[in-house]
């Protein structure tokens, strides 16, 4: 009797080990690049220039870094070495005022801000001058319920991650509705459905990448709007984890000049990099407060020369990384 139980247990162990090996081989890819090295960091808690109270978004031009400083209701601008240059925005809902600015996107000489509490996308000049705003509170087409991120197409169309709206909306530059992905206000885990989407990115050819926040995955749609693929853990179905190619809450997605995909992996305290087709390339970051460590990675931006800037949320600082030689 005892022998039989031992035999059965042995069999179960072998099966479990076999499954673990399969999971490892199929869903835990190895790095294909040498990765990134830490360069420098700047910022500390506070409300003075160069200090942060919840940095939540980041975007770069060829020479400057723009940071959403959410609880200070402002955008701060730095050079690539972290020297403070200027700031704009104050708390409120009028033109140029901000209510928890989140992910940022730069297109041409304009900065697009997901103005989370004000349910709109605000557009500023790079000097901080308010240009216009798009959208208002609501559930109808062209309205928002806490926009988390925005991307801008070559023709000026906006793609907006509507966080509580559980959808991605495409709007013309004047705010008129074009189409949407996802069911308004309804969470879903199947392809084309969302679970609190936080951000979007557009490739040069119009391919749309979505940071599907609490589904712990990335979803990709063709320029025509068809679902193409998803990734993030087994089957890309809301299975989170700390392994390569897995996520634990996705809060930002952005592309480099080659179309590679960078993802802020919030609870895993790291940035992950993928090829345009979702092949895992490399990752960097670990939990902590030391140089090169993170307390929740919330946003990432990539400069044209490949330098990567990361918003280190709970450490209230920005980190600069570069590709290893």
């Amino acid at each position: 009797m005892g022998k039989r139980i031992l035999k059965a247990l042995g069999g179960v162990t072998v099966v479990l080990l076999g499954l673990a090996v399969i999971v490892w081989l199929v869903w835990i890819p190895s790095a294909r690049e040498v990765g990134y090295e830490f360069v420098s960091t700047w910022g500390e808690p506070g409300n003075a220039p160069g200090q942060f109270h919840d940095p939540t978004g980041i975007a770069v031009t060829a020479t400057e870094v723009f940071v959403s400083d959410a609880r200070n209701a402002r955008i701060q601008v730095f050079d690539f070495d972290g020297h403070f240059k200027r700031q704009f925005g104050t708390k409120g809902d009028g033109p140029g005022r901000l209510g928890r600015p989140m992910n940022l996107r730069i297109d041409g000489d304009e900065l697009y801000v997901a103005d989370y509490w004000n349910d709109r996308i605000q557009v500023f000049g790079l000097d901080g001058a308010p240009h216009r705003s798009i959208g208002k509170s609501g559930k109808d087409p062209g309205e928002f319920n806490a926009p988390g991120g925005v991307a801008v197409a070559g023709n000026g169309d906006l793609y907006v991650a509507d966080f509580y709206g559980q959808r991605i909306q495409q709007l013309h530059a004047d705010g008129s509705f074009v189409r949407q992905w996802g069911h308004t206000g309804k969470v879903g885990i199947r392809a084309g459905e969302f679970n609190y989407p936080t951000d979007v990115a557009l490739a040069d050819d119009g391919t749309l990448y979505v940071a599907d926040g609490y589904n712990d995955r990335v979803q990709v749609f063709s320029p025509e709007g068809r679902f193409v693929r998803k990734w993030g853990g087994p089957f890309g179905m809301n299975i989170f984890g700390p392994f390569n190619g897995w996520f634990a809450t996705v809060t930002r997605i952005t592309l480099d000049s080659s179309g590679n995909v960078f993802v802020a992996d919030f609870y895993n305290n790291r940035v992950q990099k993928f090829s345009p087709d979702g092949t895992f390339l490399s990752t960097f970051g670990s939990k902590g407060t030391g140089p090169g460590q993170f307390e929740k990675v919330i946003a990432v931006a990539v400069a044209r020369d490949g330098t990567v800037f990361v918003a280190d949320f709970a450490n209230n600082r920005i980190q600069k990384w570069q590709p290893k030689p």
Partner: protein, 99 residues
């Protein structure tokens, strides 16, 4: 010298008292499922829409939300529960904090 310093400190305390008295009751809400700043700001936004709310403070790590009301404006538990639900979360505990 010591007396002058004590007098200044006492004067500063007196100046602070009216400010402290101006704020109303505060409440501690325990919320399940707070995952990131997107949620925290969502809850803050919903709770701030209640008339009489002066300030909200969210601790993502502990899931505790502190709601500070204006003087003479109590917060009804049912309303707080509805707002938390609207933000996509579940209210687990609600209590008035002692001053």
């Amino acid at each position: 010298m010591k007396i002058i310093r004590h007098s200044i400190a006492a004067l500063m305390l007196l100046l602070l008292i009216p400010t402290a008295q101006a704020s109303g009751p505060s409440y501690a809400l325990q919320v399940d499922g707070l995952a990131c700043p997107f949620c925290a700001y969502g809850i803050e936004k919903k709770l701030s829409s209640i008339e009489g709310v002066d300030d909200t403070q969210v601790n993502i790590k502990t899931g505790e939300v502190i709601v500070i009301m204006a003087e003479g404006a109590p917060l009804a538990e049912d309303l707080a529960r509805k707002k938390v639900k609207d933000a996509g979360f579940t209210l687990r505990a609600f209590s008035r904090r002692s001053k």
